[in-house]
Subunit: 207 residues, 2 copies
């Protein structure tokens, strides 16, 4: 791409560094910004600058926070004794959007994956064990993606937590709501049979 | 989406205002930025801020410029007597990328489209006529999209330019290079037959 302005070129190149945004999309976004009000664009660039400069991570759950503790950890209405263990911040947002969980979180910052060079020591596992030792935790719920790495991580952490009197659960894996048995993969179908639940539990949980 | 940080929420909302970017994509981009170096993010937000504040439009061709004249208009190596008339800045960039045109441009800023409420007075048509009157222009090349609005615009401007001794041409419309006759629409195929060119011209133009 050949530009008639270095300001334009600069902005397009910066946008094109973002994941999934190529030169053409970057140009479209930049030309959109040029047409906007000066104050709106200043607000946009400010939001990005302050985000990176002022963002903090919660000292307790490692979620994104504005201060030393995140909004969820500092909310006294939430059950501080139930911890949901997730891989990353996107998973926290996904679970929060269901509005079905009233406990707190622990963000591991990844998942055990030897092939990608990620071992337990790179993740927030020690700090989770410490939380269980120091705080009065009743239950740990694993909400990790259902794959080998997720299962490895659950196994590793469960073993570390064994000496502590804490209930350990994982989110249910089975046929998606609205899904069809016919098209489900064998692994999921097999797991959903072996992990079958009493209908009375299912009906209560649904309400 | 429920966020644990207002800085995060703010940045996601700002990104989601961009065209074609939804909340999920915005979140992905913001989480990417959080992981980048502070200086890189500052550079990104700076590029956007200075773009909108300092961007100018060329006094002559209305293309984006860093100063009073754009890089193309102020380049003495380009034929200032050949003007290519385009709808918008994206078209300038598309033509520049071919590296086949060595003249200058005139950006109309839109196209005559009564249905969208765009009339000739909203476009840079008077300034084009003025350029033809004042500068020593040899040729006007219309590079507008081949549709009713494009043709209307060409017709309107050509009529305005009639009193002036300037050659008026339009870019060729026909079957795309690499395209197949079988799949071309009737209109394009019909036009490509009625506007056929002598093979000797075609071969010369190809080299």
């Amino acid at each position: 791409m050949i530009f008639s302005s270095s300001l334009l070129e600069n902005a397009v190149n910066e946008f094109a560094k973002l994941p999934g945004i190529g030169k053409k999309t970057a140009l479209r976004l930049v030309l959109h910004l040029i047409k906007q009000d000066v104050n709106d664009v200043a607000q946009f660039s400010n939001a990005i600058a302050t985000l990176r400069e002022e963002i903090r991570f919660c000292n307790r759950c490692h979620n994104i926070a504005d201060g030393p503790l995140c909004k969820i950890c500092s909310n006294s209405m939430r059950k501080q004794e139930v911890i949901c263990v997730v891989e990353n911040i996107r998973d926290v947002i996904a679970i929060e959007s269901t509005q079905q969980f009233n406990g707190v979180y622990h963000v591991l910052g990844g998942i055990i994956s030897p092939l990608d060079g990620v071992g337990p020591e790179q993740l927030q596992i020690d700090s989770l064990v410490e939380r269980v030792q120091k705080e009065n935790i009743a239950e740990i719920i694993f909400a990790l993606n259902p794959n080998i790495q997720g299962d490895t991580t659950i196994y590793y952490i469960s073993k570390k937590l064994k000496p502590h009197p804490v209930k350990i659960t994982t989110i249910a894996r089975g046929i998606s709501f609205g899904g069809e048995l016919e098209y489900a993969d064998e692994m999921t179908l097999a797991k959903s049979i072996s992990n079958r639940i009493p209908v009375e539990n299912y009906i209560t949980a649904g309400n």
